[in-house]
Symmetry: C2
Subunit: 325 residues, 2 copies
């Protein structure tokens, strides 16, 4: 019997660490197997699935893919909380539609409101401040606010299995990006702590900003006007503007992610498209074709033909938020 020198023991320990399950919150099955196979092959020179390091770009939707999005987008809940705060400073808001109806939770009137009114609420609550001021408002809210149904912090309603997937991809040399219909400036302040994704790797919807020399010095002031809607066909456009390279891995959960997955998986192999299917009404929410939020129809119909993997949340995830038991 040979005694291993310390350096070999060290290498051996590294190998064992490498062999540990990188996705412990995923139940065994074809989805987990496909993910692990893709990630391993991507790093294996000579493998058909090898991906040169510079091309290892993975994009993730946020709402419904990395965290929950029911009973409405969390950013809309932020907007409502912010509207309440603004109404304390400016009482005229409570007398002006569509703000009054929201502030008074006037369901009768709210039922008649649509995208136009939501747009007005978003603009009123998201514009006017400098980028740095707005980041502070978001940070405070993320710290304090609680979800109306679970009572949890919003950042605790992020999906543990997806966070493991992000980490496993990064360990394999992938750069992980968020590409979300949510607001760029709403996500940047907290995604690094929560997902390990730095603010510079966020693509999102955004308002126009204007450079001004303010009383507090030069700053970017947020205007009440949309500049990019990073949803549907807007997602590949956002990828062009910020990343400039076709990703090889894309994860989403709704038809708003369809074009991002289509664009990603239409390049030369290897490619990976992943759709999170919300099938778990017990631990999270169950919805798909008929949902107003995160509607998933075309994705379900075409996933098989396109070779996209579907996550059946109830079946594939051992935990949703990582807090069960």
């Amino acid at each position: 019997m040979q005694i291993l020198p310390p350096i070999l023991l060290f290498v051996f320990a590294l190998t064992v660490a490498h062999a540990a399950d990188p996705l412990p919150s995923w139940n065994d099955g074809s989805t987990k197997e496909a993910l692990i196979g893709f990630i391993e092959d991507a790093q294996t020179e000579g493998s058909d699935g090898y991906i040169p390091p510079a091309e290892r770009i993975a994009v993730f939707d946020n709402d419904g893919t990395l965290w929950s999005e029911q009973p409405m987008y969390f950013q809309l809940l932020f907007a409502i909380d912010r509207l309440k705060a603004l109404a304390e400073e400016d009482p005229t808001l409570a007398a002006t539609e569509p703000f009054r109806a929201v502030l008074e939770a006037d369901r009768e009137t709210l039922r008649t409101y649509g995208m136009k009114e939501i747009g007005e609420i978003i603009m009123r609550t998201h514009a006017g401040l400098t980028e740095e001021q707005f980041a502070g408002v978001v940070r405070d809210w993320i710290e304090q606010a609680r979800h109306p149904q679970t009572g949890m912090r919003y950042t605790d309603m992020t999906f543990q299995p997806m966070k493991e997937l992000l980490e496993a991809l990064r360990n394999a040399g992938f750069k992980t990006y968020i590409v979300s219909g949510g607001g760029l400036s709403f996500m940047r302040p907290w995604v690094e702590d929560v997902y390990g994704i730095p603010p510079v790797q966020v693509v999102g919807s955004r308002v126009k900003v204007e450079y001004r020399v303010t009383e507090d010095g030069p700053a970017l002031v947020r205007l009440p006007e949309l500049d990019l809607v990073d949803d549907k066909v807007g997602k590949p456009v956002g990828i062009y503007q910020v990343i400039g390279r076709r990703p090889v891995f894309a994860a989403g959960n709704s038809d708003g992610d369809f074009q991002m997955l289509e664009y990603t998986t239409s390049g030369p192999e290897p490619r990976f498209g992943l759709l999170v299917h919300h099938t778990d009404g017990e631990r999270e929410y169950a919805y798909d074709r008929d949902s107003h939020i995160g509607r998933l129809e075309r994705g379900l119909d075409e996933a098989e033909d396109r070779g996209w993997q579907i996550v059946d949340m109830a079946r594939d995830w051992a935990t949703v938020y990582g807090n069960e038991n």
Copy 2:
């Protein structure tokens, strides 16, 4: 006398390598001293000039800062070459203004043309293709084209001292970005080879793109419409969209860079603003206040008050392109 064990010799060798001049093409003087001091302090914990790694963001203008820009922006020379190529496929171009005047080098008529006509030429030569096709056109041109006055490749007309500065910043943990009025898609295909800056770290002017499922598959098609003019007040806006963090180091050469330097250097110290002053009519070009291209007036007037360093190209640079002698 003690004999050093091999590991210490190795560490010693590293130290010597570290102490070598990181900016060999810069002549000794206050500019070089300030740059080296800033870079060393940024990495030195406990120093007043220490900068946490995540904040080490350095932005560089391209035209006139990293490469030459006379007798006109190189991208305009690209547009003219491309117009000639397009005219071979489509003879009607030669009969249509403003293209005819350019193709025939009709100086009389060209003298009457301004921004409107330049815009038409840029749009005609930069739109219509997919992003991937356009990148191919740019790559071919960069490979083959020669500067009308020097006969050099355009990528050989990049400034050796600035490339050393980029490298020195990166060695100190900075992320280096281009933030240029030039076209995003015109720069992305070659900047990594030439400057060591990956395509994802380029901010530039851009046209609108549209996601379409074309005959060749899903692609981003370039439209003849501007989306961002990344110049003057547009530079901090581009930084917001793509980087999302106020840089700590900015280098430019014209008043088109003024707001970028102002924005960068108005954050809490340490900060560095650098302006390349084209003073070398022998090795490069000499121009500033009266130039139509790369006009530098406000920058010269305010640099001292704002604490910005000015590079006197003739005095500070031992070589311009790195090819002398």
